[in-house]
Point group: C2
Chain length 345, copies 2
């Protein structure tokens, strides 16, 4: 078993900020990125934790992200807000716009945030959970890299296009789900390749469009959407709503722009925020209490709510710190010491 050593949330945050600032990212952006990355480690979402640092540095070294971009919130008063990320990372743009998004949804009942021209490396649950803690229901989506074939197709076109949703609760963490609309994440296929293990049936097709269980053939071919033609339709909807409709890159264009999946994709993002009390007005019912009835019924038949495992990991990290392997500590050391020189071109 790998030995683990604990680091406090605050100390890990400080070190992640060091890495990012050392690589030339402006201070406010580094702080914002570190909040998201450390939240991933805190919740034991290893795929969105410090593992992401190398990818962030790699795209910076390639000159394909503006580490010094200052996001700009466009003025206006309607239900649609726009924030320009200016080719920088998405998180500081979201943070800048978040109070105004909450305020508009509070006033109008419904608001949408368009994030323009960003690189998105973080989990969407982070954003929708924050909105739910502010009392809003929230739905978030974005394209990614063309890596998934549409149902009935044979070649990569759709992204792994994540979809996240949150609903506020009283006296409990918000209801949150966040998943890729592909059957599996690309990283899971990579893990099978490294382990020399075949993929489960139904995950991928090879470059000729035939079903495959060979991880390398899958990486050279296309992944499949979850849930057959229904999942494929939802992934297509995400391309349309968070790509075409915003006038931002869809996954195929992001893939071309970045020259493959080695660099983070560049695109827009769409976040919808709903004030439940506004939608329930006149019904005589409390929309949050109604939600609790559903959650009770789900738990009552022994089913798990989507983020339960994450919240349990969070409670442990808040009490005992975050546990990392020695290899992870060494990676942090190396990234802090070498900066951009630590990552391959």
């Amino acid at each position: 078993m790998t030995a683990l050593r604990s680091i406090s949330i605050a100390e890990l945050h400080r070190r992640v900020v060091n890495v990012l600032q050392g690589a030339g990212i402006r201070s406010e952006t580094a702080q914002s990125m570190a909040r998201v990355i450390v939240a991933g480690e805190r919740d034991n979402c290893k795929s969105h934790g410090i593992y992401r640092l190398e990818g962030c540095l790699r795209v910076l070294k390639a000159g394909k992200v503006a580490g010094d971009a200052v996001p700009q919130l466009l003025p206006g008063s309607g239900p649609v807000l726009q924030v320009l990320a200016g080719g920088g990372f998405a998180c500081p743009a979201f943070e800048l716009a978040q109070p105004e998004l909450v305020a508009r949804a509070e006033t109008l009942g419904l608001a949408a945030l368009v994030i323009r021209d960003c690189l998105h490396f973080s989990a969407l649950w982070y954003e929708v959970e924050l909105l739910a803690r502010a009392g809003l229901a929230a739905l978030s989506m974005c394209p990614s890299h063309a890596a998934v074939a549409p149902a009935g197709g044979t070649a990569p076109l759709l992204g792994t296009n994540p979809l996240a949703f949150a609903y506020p609760r009283t006296g409990a963490h918000p209801y949150v789900f966040d998943f890729a609309t592909s059957v599996a994440a690309r990283g899971e296929i990579e893990l099978h390749r490294r382990a020399g293990k075949p993929l489960p049936e139904g995950w991928a097709m090879d470059a000729d469009g035939n079903p495959t269980t060979d991880p390398q053939a899958a990486l050279d071919g296309a992944m499949l959407p979850f849930g057959g033609h229904k999942g494929s339709a939802i992934s297509t909807m995400i391309e349309l709503m968070a790509g075409a409709m915003l006038g931002e890159f869809m996954s195929a264009e992001a893939h071309r722009e970045m020259g493959g999946t080695r660099l983070l994709p560049r695109h827009g993002a769409l976040i919808l925020a709903f004030k439940p009390a506004h939608f329930a007005a006149g019904s005589g019912r409390d929309p949050i209490a109604e939600g609790e009835q559903l959650f009770d019924a789900i738990a009552g038949q022994g089913a798990r709510l989507p983020s339960q495992r994450r919240y349990a990991a969070r409670a442990r990290a808040e009490a005992e710190g975050i546990f990392l392997t020695e290899a992870e500590f060494e990676q942090l050391d190396r990234l802090e010491r070498l900066g951009l020189a630590a990552v391959e071109d």
Copy 2:
């Protein structure tokens, strides 16, 4: 092979209106319902065509729908519209609110329609397609009857909760999808039962929560959501957004209220409408032309767009009329002649 005979769209509309008015439904509501039902036949969506007439009459006979309800659009000017269906069918409420929903989305970029206290028997594609023809992207959802177990659960709780989406196109029918978030429709399980055929694996569980391929055991037990825990999460989101958040029935309460699945469920519905040009403002791109690029790429790899089959059936019906079996003509005769007496209690 069953002999088919053609009837014009206008003549079928007239006959469906006759049936509904004969059963005591007010004229405007009957017209509105007939538009939806005939659209189902026209597009060869048999499950949402004249097959639905008996269900509409049955719930009327049971006194569980207000056939004379006059929908009422609440005043206001923000992005959230409410229309009170007054315990009547959903379609006249939608038709009443549709022009104002379009106008608000045109002005504000984004609008939502809440339909309160309605019975929904029609396909959601009908509504989102109309909005896309008015130049809007649209997303629609509603709860139904508790018949689906959440992932990891053992008993019916979620509805078959349909989700529909449309995106406008130029020179082509809108992109439209509409599906149940259960693996299969309840009607498909019933068809397997009648044919004495086992269900495919993964469709259902029996009353003890064990997987089953026996159709009767499935009808006595629970259906499963499509796409495992991801589909289950989406179905849960629909319960929350179109049920709890609106202060309207979720599927479990609808099921209790109607005393089972024999009568149509009673609940609310949520429709979101987006003006693409508003969301793309400042991008320098045409969001509709961008959509075409995606549709071309999907078709270019031999994959079908979701509503292609429906639009092909529509073209045929518009040219040659709608083809019905003699049994279907007899059913229309019987319903016209006997009214409510034609349906069992």
